[in-house]
């Protein structure tokens, strides 16, 4: 009994050490995978935040043209350090699609002229908003 017990104690100790190492390794691998996926997600989030912060546009000028048909011309400039993709144009909260290429990718420092057929009224106030795919907006109020 004593001899058997002594052998089994050594074997059991070795087995326990091995199992502990293997389980610890598995745990570390699992934790590293978890951390890796967290880091990946966070990195994408930071990348999107970086891009959004680097992007900036402004509505430089708005012309209300008599026509016919009546039109509104928008001059939009990229004042950021990253190209901006203009994706939505709102006049008083209603979305309009300008003539020409749309959505429009505006390179850094460049300006684009956007034209929308719109029956405007002299003296009225128009809230104009232009949004990019990254969620940045340029807006302002203009009066013909």
């Amino acid at each position: 009994m004593k001899q058997k017990a002594a052998v089994s104690t050594i074997v059991a100790t070795i087995l326990m050490i091995n199992m502990a190492i293997v389980m610890g390794g598995i745990m570390i691998a699992w934790a590293m995978g978890l951390i890796g996926s967290y880091q990946g997600g966070t990195q994408i989030q930071y990348m999107l935040m970086d891009e959004r912060v680097q992007e900036a546009i402004t509505v430089e000028c708005v012309w209300f043209e008599s026509g016919p048909p009546k039109k509104i011309t928008f001059f939009v400039r990229n004042i950021g350090v990253r190209e901006a993709k203009l994706t939505t144009l709102y006049v008083n909260g209603t979305s309009y699609t300008p003539n020409g290429t749309w959505p429009y990718t505006l390179t850094v420092g460049s300006r684009v002229t956007l034209l929308v057929n719109y029956t405007w009224t002299s003296g009225a106030i128009y809230l104009i908003t232009i949004a990019t795919t990254r969620g940045n907006k340029a807006h302002g109020e203009w009066t013909p």
């Binding site: 610890g24 570390i28 880091q39 430089e60």
Partner: protein, 292 residues
């Protein structure tokens, strides 16, 4: 006992290794998170710097030249950053609009002239314009519509300024080339002098004063036409922009009256601009002389 001690020692090492591994992992995650945030913060600071530049960009549009063929104005940068003017938005009062590219850098605290830009202008045009900078700021002149009509300077309602200086109005008894110019405020009686006056052209461009009709009329203060004396402009004369010169007149057509005769002096000037055939007329001022 020794075996038990050994077992405890091995498990202690293993747990120690795992503890260190876990600590390193946690530290790495925290450090990575910190570096990511630091990189984002740096980009956000750059954005703030750009916004600061944008908010501190200030330009003033001054001295828009009237009568010019193209837009001609001065820009003063009274902000704290250099400005790069890149676009000119132009609109005539009749609604005709146009956009023009510019490429003008202006340092803080400096003034720069921007000339010969925009559409072609005539003297009857009224317009509005706006300049835009690379940072997306826009600036307009202080008045809503700018008139390109030429107007005299210094607030006088005439295109030429006569300074009323003692020697600005002179006579000469002798004709050319031996003029003996004297101040003409008190010319000699019973004389037929020649005359000249010094006038300043306050227009921003050259003016030709025409000899054909410009003249100097001396009218006795009884205002009888028979008592009028005439001295005509000798020859058409170009007066450069924003400068002055003497206009020479011919000998008086008949003698002045005797000493003590008082005359009103009306000087009619007919002129045109060097780049236009249209002829305008004006007076320089009403002077007065009496003979001695």
């Amino acid at each position: 006992m020794s075996l038990i001690r050994k077992r405890r020692g091995v498990s202690g090492i293993i747990s120690g290794v795992f503890l260190v591994a876990v600590a390193v992992m946690i530290f790495n995650v925290l450090a990575w998170q910190f570096f990511q945030y630091d990189a984002y913060h740096r980009i956000a600071l750059e954005r703030d710097q750009r916004e600061w530049g944008r908010f501190n960009e200030r330009l003033a549009i001054l001295e828009i030249v009237a009568g010019a063929q193209y837009l001609n104005f001065t820009v003063r940068n009274y902000g704290s950053v250099s400005a790069h003017i890149v676009t000119l938005y132009f609109e005539f009062i009749n609604g005709t609009k146009s956009v023009h590219s510019l490429n003008v850098w202006i340092g803080p605290g400096t003034t720069k002239r921007i000339a010969n830009v925009g559409p072609k202008l005539t003297t009857t045009d009224k317009y509005d314009f706006m300049i835009a900078t690379e940072r997306g700021n826009t600036f307009r002149p202080s008045e809503q519509y700018v008139s390109n009509e030429i107007r005299p300077g210094q607030g006088q309602a005439m295109p030429f300024i006569f300074g009323f200086g003692y020697t600005d109005f002179q006579y000469s008894i002798n004709g050319p080339p031996n003029y003996d110019w004297q101040p003409a405020w008190r010319p000699p009686g019973q004389s037929r002098p020649y005359f000249r006056i010094f006038i300043n052209n306050t227009y921003p461009k050259d003016v030709i004063v025409l000899a054909s009709d410009s003249r100097m009329s001396f009218v006795l203060d009884d205002f009888q036409a028979s008592n009028k004396r005439l001295s005509s402009l000798s020859s058409s004369t170009t007066i450069s922009a924003n400068s002055g010169l003497y206009l020479y007149f011919t000998q008086l057509d008949q003698k002045f009256g005797g000493p003590g005769s008082h005359y009103y002096v009306f000087i009619e000037i007919f002129y045109k601009f060097t780049d236009s055939p249209e002829i305008y007329g004006t007076t320089v001022g009403i002077l007065a002389v009496y003979t001695i």
